[in-house]
Structure formats: C-alpha cells, structure tokens
C-alpha cells in the first residue's frame, strides 16, 4: 500500500457509505470477525463486498483450485488465478481491494472435525457453499456456538437468502431436510446428497447477487441498521423474471 494512505486510510476508503451508517456502527463492523465458507461463485462477491464495506477480519476456507469452467461467474477466477488455490487467491483479492482487512485463509475442506476451529470466534458465519452436507455441518455448529448463520444458495437463474440464529427455525427445519435430529452418518449423508445430485447449471449474475445480498445481511446484523431477513423468512428470486424477487415465509 502506498505510504501516504497509512493512517486515516480506512475511514477514507469507506467514506462514501458514512451517511448509511454512523461512525459507531461502522466501528462495530471494523472490529468484527466473520467467516465465509467457500470462495467460489457466491463467495467471490460475498468476500469482496465484506472487504469493501470494511469488515475487520475474514476467515476463508475452500479446498478447491480455480479452473476454466469457473470463469463464467466466479469473480476471483481469471487468467492470473487459474490453477491456484481459491482460498489464497481470495486472500490476495481482499488485500488488493481493502488492505485494512485481516484475512485468515484455510486451503482445506470444512468438516465436522475442523468446523468449530474455523468459525469459533466469528460474529457471523456466511454460507457460500455448493452442497447440502456442509451446510448442515455449518448450520449445526453455528447454532451450537450461538453464531448467526447467513445462508445463500442458487440453481441456474434462481437464488435464495435467509438468516438463522439460535432463536429462529433452523436451516434443516426450514427446508425440512431428511437429516433433522439425526447424526450425520453414512445413511443420513446419502439421504441429503440425493437432494442435490449432479452438477447444477449456473450463470454469472445469480451467485453474485446472492453473494452481495448475504454480505449486506451480515453488515445489517453487525451494525444494527435495517431489517434482517430472519428464518423462516426467505428471500427468493429468479432473474428470468425480476418481478419474482420476494420475501416469503416458510
């Protein structure tokens, strides 16, 4: 970073949003720690928006590397990051757009063994995942640790966002998953996987809209501005028809 920006740079960087939040609200965001699970299509926009809005610390986790088929939608993918780890590339992206953000990147898969270590100290955990089993693992751990869990998912041109806390309906309850009240053994995992088999279609704008919306749900949760879309409310949309944007109660 050029030395002339050291010092007051953080506040200048986020200065254009200061009529939306007060200094004390923005300070809360500056001092907050969030975890983003996944650095792909949803994660790319989500991480970038959190960084640009001035979050204090981001923990990132993804075990994958970027390939050519990611480039129709995943913001951090490009010629410079092809073949590179998504987690470390995301960390570099954050350093580029807001060097005041502390980033902790894990190049590994999130599972029942490491989930509490990864999300443990977070104020909010954000879902940028592409599979149900890990969503169940994350949502259960977040509830146990009393951390709000911001969920987002997509399919093709459809997207959805909702926020879960220990006081709301859980992720599994809201979507009536076959794993409710069960241990995540081989049979339960098989039942869950049957809901999202195959490689779903996806096009550029869909995961990026979801990523931006999730980032702002976290911003609202932490700063206290605006209305959070708590479970069982679900924001749902299909960009083939913009009049479909709606918040429904499940």
């Amino acid at each position: 970073m050029p030395t002339r920006y050291i010092g007051m740079g953080y506040w200048e960087l986020i200065s254009r949003q200061m009529s939306i939040v007060t200094k004390s609200q923005q300070t809360r965001f500056k001092e907050s720690e969030v975890t983003v699970i996944g650095c792909g299509g949803i994660g790319g926009s989500l991480i970038e928006q959190l960084a640009r809005m001035g979050v204090g610390k981001i923990n990132l986790i993804d075990k994958d590397i970027f390939d050519l088929s990611n480039m129709n939608r995943q913001l951090i993918s490009g010629l410079e990051t092809l073949g590179k780890e998504k987690s470390y590339s995301a960390k570099e992206r954050v350093r580029n757009v807001n060097p005041y953000v502390e980033v902790n990147a894990f190049d590994e898969e999130l599972n029942e063994e490491n989930v509490e270590t990864v999300i443990g100290d977070s104020d909010v955990v954000l879902d940028a995942l592409d599979n149900l089993v890990t969503r169940v693992i994350v949502s259960r751990a977040a509830k146990k640790l009393k951390i709000p869990y911001v969920h987002g998912a997509i399919h093709g041109t459809m997207g959805q966002v909702s926020v879960f806390t220990p006081e709301t309906k859980t992720y599994e309850e809201m979507f009536k998953l076959p794993s409710i009240d069960k241990e995540l053994d081989e049979n339960t995992i098989k039942d869950i996987n049957s809901l999202n088999r195959g490689v779903p279609p996806v096009i550029g704008p869909t995961p990026n809209i979801v990523g931006c919306l999730e980032a702002f749900e976290a911003f609202k949760l932490i700063t206290g501005v605006g209305e959070v879309t708590y479970s069982p409310e679900l924001l749902s949309f299909n960009i083939l028809d913009l009049s479909s944007f709606d918040v429904i109660e499940l």
């Binding site: 996944g38 949803i42 879902d127 459809m158 959805q160 049957s194 749902s236 028809d241 009049s243």
Partner: protein, 66 residues
C-alpha cells in the same frame, strides 16, 4: 370447480374436474417435492394434501446449489 395456482410468480386459475392432491399438481408441473415447499391457503402442507374448490396453492422452489 377451480383452484388458484401460484408458480414461478405466475398466478393462474386451474380447472378442477376431480379430487387431486398437491402431489398430482407437482407431477403435472414436473417438479420434485424435495425441491419445493407448498402452501395451501397460506399454510405449509404435505404432498398428500387434497386440493378443493377455491383453494390457493403456492409452489415455492427451494435451491441447494452454489
């Protein structure tokens, strides 16, 4: 007899010649029960629920990808 079907943000009136269930409607639309939540007159119902004259059935698609 008829019922109102709300699907993919479109509201339409459907003729009801015989007693049908939510499952029949989903089958007709080629939509799986696992990827939907169905509301009948504002209440979430199971796929066995019977649709009657004047009911409003809303099919909400749930997504799991990323």
């Amino acid at each position: 007899m008829s019922f109102t079907l709300i699907f993919e943000n479109k509201k339409e009136n459907k003729e009801l010649d015989e007693e049908i269930s939510v499952q029949d409607v989903l089958k007709d639309l080629d939509v799986s029960i696992e990827s939907t939540v169905v509301k009948k007159n504002g209440e979430i119902v199971e796929e066995e629920a019977i649709i009657k004259d004047g009911d409003e059935v809303q099919i909400i698609q749930i997504v799991y990808g990323g």
